[in-house]
Amino acid sequence: MPKKLTVVVSQSQGKNPAKARLEEEIAAALLFDPEIDVSLVPHLYDMHADHSGLLFLRSVAEPLVFLSWLYPRATRWTLDRQGVKGQEGTTLLRSEGEDEDADENDEAEESQSAGIGSQGQVPKRRIWCLDLRAYNDAQVYLDEIKRIGAEQSMPTIGLSLSLNGGPHRHRIAPYLEPQKLLSNGKHEPGASTSGVSARPAIELEPTKRRWYPVIDYSRCTNCMECIDFCLFGVYGLDHSGSILVEQQDNCKKGCPACSRVCPANAIIFPQHKTPAIAGANGEVTNLKIDLSKLFGGEEKDPLAMAVAERDAELVADGREAVGMAVGIPKRQTGSDKPRDALDDLIDGLDSFEL
């Protein structure tokens, strides 16, 4: 029995008609595919931990293809933080702004990753994160989903279609509600004659736009600079002493300061306009122009920007600006020099039990 593939389309936040159309085209095309359970959920980043969309996502044990309007890194680690874990599936699609032939570099980068890795148990199933911003054509995504479906369950052949799916089809039913979201979806729930699930989406509890950091644990070294820098109690430590984003909603909307001070570039603000902060891999080009300078922005170095951003939020909270006095990274000058034997010796001291 081939394993079923769950495909989830996470909706865009805005009123962009082109985005809504792409979501609908993809969902509608997959709706009657017996090998696939397709669902729509609100924008991943905006769902609170107890949102029905996330309850549903946590209940999915099968391989998962997750399409969202975010960089795949942002999607992957937001899911991870929300307890939707799995191995990273490799997609052939690029993400927004990425070069077609940049793949090899990415892999090189990944293999050098010095992070502490995802916290807790990570199941074997794979999660593929696709960036809906990268292509306008639904067919590109449908083809990739088909390819992934074939990859993750080799026995899948056309004949199995007539077998009408597997026994797991309705395992997640309690979390699903008939959905009117597909505006021209006329099929009725329960009226699925061929065993095809006609439940395209989660009951869409409205979401408000949120703002909080997402840690990429493949990069995070647990250096604690973020927890020292942020003065709003966003970060905390788990029982094993690993950094985590504890109080997401303590974060100050629009402020990406901790991301700027993170030496490993591990802190993602998925909605920030700067690709490097929003979770882009390596060098990308912005597809949209940035008008901030015309509207009054100024250019500063990252640390000065972070300090100014933090001070603005402190003052807005009725607290004193602290400038460079608190939680500034104590990076040694010249720390970008290659390591030498002395570095190894000093670091080695930590491993001795004294």
Partner: protein, 163 residues
């Protein structure tokens, strides 16, 4: 690149030519250098409605999202980041036009930002703002556009050519 500006009679708006596009500058309101208009609200001294000028709109094009990082009734300083905007062509942080206080936001454009494109100088207003700071007269804003146009184009082209 020639820069043309034609000043018309009486209550006609000023026009700044962005290439072939006519950026309209109505003369019934004031302006800030970061391309916002500020129109005095009747009977409330120092209170203005604030919106995007058509110069801004031409560069943004269709606005899809607008979001504010501050609450209503918040004091702000000039150039403080107060929100974010995304349009079909651009992304930007939005900054306060002057020292003052943001009194309330236009909820209608928050839920459907297309009003910003449909009626930039009317229903597409962004927020009410109280300030005592000096503002630019329409003619001064027109001069500001003229003197900045070459630089702004270079700034935009620089980004487009980066890729």
């Amino acid at each position: 690149m020639t820069v043309k500006a034609s000043v018309c009679v009486m209550s006609d708006p000023l026009i700044f030519m962005m290439g072939k596009y006519e950026a309209v500058v109505p003369i019934d309101r004031m302006y800030s250098e970061n391309h916002l208009w500020l129109q005095a609200v009747a009977d409330r001294e120092g209170v203005y409605r604030v919106g995007f000028t058509s110069y801004s709109i031409r560069l943004l094009q269709d606005v899809y999202f607008l979001d504010w990082n501050i609450d209503a009734n918040t004091g702000v300083s000039k150039k403080q980041a107060i929100g974010e905007i995304e349009s079909s062509k651009a992304l930007s942080t939005l900054y306060a036009p002057a020292n003052g206080k943001v009194l309330r936001f236009n909820d209608a454009v928050l839920s459907d930002p297309s009003a910003i494109n449909v009626d930039a100088y009317g229903d597409g207003w962004l927020y009410e703002f109280s300030t005592e700071a000096p503002l630019m007269h329409p003619l001064a804003y027109l001069k500001h556009l003229e003197s900045g146009w070459e630089r702004d184009q270079r700034y935009l082209k620089g980004q487009v050519n980066q890729g």
